[in-house]
Amino acid sequence: MVDHPTEAGIVLTPEEKRRQRQRNLAIAFALAGLCVLFWVITIVKGAAILQRPM
C-alpha cells in the first residue's frame, strides 16, 4: 500500500519506514524471546510446571 503513492492513504517517509522496521524487528525478537523463555521454563520445571503452590 505504502509503495503506491497514487492510492489513497498515508505514504510513509523513509524515516518512518526505518522506524517501522525497527519496531517490527523488536516485536520479532520479543516473540522469539518469549518462545525461548517458555521452552526454558518447561525444561527446568519439567512435570512440576503443573504444580503451582500458593
Binding site: 519496531r23 526454558v40 520445571k45
Partner: protein, 310 residues
C-alpha cells in the same frame, strides 16, 4: 505530491507511529526498574530456601517487567502533567513519539504477561503481590493520590517498596516479618527521598498542579517532615540487624548510613534560603539513593554470598 502534505503534523502523529524501540524502553522507566531489580534480587537471595537459579532469574525478569509496565501505565495517564514539567517533558508521550494508546496497550500487555509468567514460574502469592503492586502504582498512586493529596508519595511509596517482598515470596511462597521489614525500609525511605527532590523541583510541580508537600504546605513544613521521617528511617534501616537476619557489616553500614541521613536531614532543616538550601536538598536526594543502595548491597553480599560460602 503525497497526502502527507495535506495532513497536519498532529494528525500524522496520531495516524503513523513515530516510535522507535528505545521509546518503548523509556516507557519502562529503566532507572526505576534498575532499583526494583536490585531490591527484588536482595529479597530473592536473602529468603530462606532455594529457587532454581534459572527460575529465580526469570522471576526477577517478571518483577522488573511488571515494574516497567506500571511505569508505562503511569506515563500514559500522566502525559498531560509530564508535558508541563521540564524534568518529564521529553518523555516519549509528551514529546509526541509514542501515542497514548500505544503506551496503554504496551503497559497492559506487559502487566498481564509478567504476572502470569511469575505465577507459573514461582507461585501465585508472588504473582498476586506483583499484580497488586502494578495496580497500586498505576491506579491508587497515579490516578488517585498523585493529583489529590500531598501525602501522595507517602502512601504511593508502597508500590516501590513491594519488590523485595515479591522476591522473598517467590522463593518461600509466604510473607514474613523479614520481608515486611525490607518493605518498611523502602516505604519510609521514599518520603524524605522524594521530598528532597520536590524541594528542588517545587516550581515544576506547582506549574503542573501536582500537590507535592512543598507546593501545598510550604518548604519549611517539608523540611520538618523530612527530618521526622528520617528519624524513623534510621532505626528501621537497622532493623534487619536487630532482628538477626543481617550481620555486623549490615549493622555498621545501616548505623553509619542512618547517621549520614540524619545529618543531611538536619542540614536541610537548618538551611532554608537560597543556594545553600538547594544544595542541602540535592545532597540529601543523592545520598538517600546511596544509602538505600548500600543497605541492600551489604545485605545481598552478606547473606547471599558470604553466609552461603562460610
Amino acid at each position: 505530491m503525497s497526502l502527507v502534505d495535506d495532513t497536519s503534523s498532529i494528525e500524522r502523529t496520531a495516524l503513523v507511529s513515530q516510535a522507535e524501540p528505545r521509546d518503548f524502553i523509556a516507557l519502562l522507566k529503566p532507572r526505576v526498574m534498575s532499583l526494583v531489580i536490585f531490591t527484588a534480587l536482595t529479597g530473592l537471595v536473602v529468603a530462606p530456601g532455594g529457587l532454581h537459579p534459572v527460575l529465580a532469574a526469570i522471576s526477577l525478569l517478571c518483577i522488573a517487567v511488571g515494574a516497567g509496565a506500571s511505569g508505562a501505565l503511569n506515563m500514559w495517564y500522566d502525559a498531560d502533567i509530564d508535558a508541563l514539567m521540564a524534568r518529564t517533558a521529553k518523555r516519549p508521550i509528551p514529546a509526541g513519539r509514542v501515542a497514548p494508546g500505544e503506551a496503554l496497550a504496551f503497559g497492559l500487555v506487559l502487566s498481564v504477561l509478567s504476572v502470569l509468567v511469575l505465577g507459573l514460574v514461582a507461585n501465585w502469592l508472588a504473582a498476586g503481590l506483583l499484580a497488586f503492586t502494578i495496580f497500586f502504582y498505576a491506579v491508587v498512586y497515579t490516578m488517585w493520590l498523585k493529583r489529590w493529596t500531598p501525602q501522595n508519595i507517602v502512601i504511593g511509596g508502597a508500590a516501590g517498596a513491594f519488590p523485595p517482598m515479591i522476591g522473598w515470596a517467590a522463593v518461600t511462597g509466604s510473607v514474613s516479618i523479614e520481608s515486611i521489614v525490607l518493605f518498611l525500609i523502602i516505604f519510609i525511605w521514599t518520603p524524605p527521598h522524594f521530598w528532597a527532590l520536590a524541594l528542588i523541583k517545587s516550581e515544576d510541580y506547582a506549574r503542573a498542579g501536582v500537590p507535592m508537600l512543598p507546593v501545598v504546605c510550604g518548604e519549611d513544613e517539608t523540611r520538618r517532615q523530612i527530618l521526622l521521617y528520617t528519624l524513623v528511617l534510621a532505626p528501621v534501616g537497622m532493623a534487619p540487624w536487630f532482628l538477626s537476619f543481617a550481620g555486623l557489616a549490615y549493622g555498621l553500614t545501616s548505623l553509619v548510613g542512618g547517621l549520614g541521613m540524619l545529618w543531611l536531614a538536619v542540614d536541610i532543616y537548618r538551611r532554608r534560603e537560597g543556594a545553600p538550601a538547594r544544595k542541602a536538598a540535592g545532597r540529601m536526594f543523592a545520598f538517600s539513593i546511596l544509602y538505600l543502595f548500600a543497605l541492600f548491597a551489604v545485605l545481598l553480599v552478606e547473606q547471599g554470598v558470604v553466609a552461603r560460602i562460610f
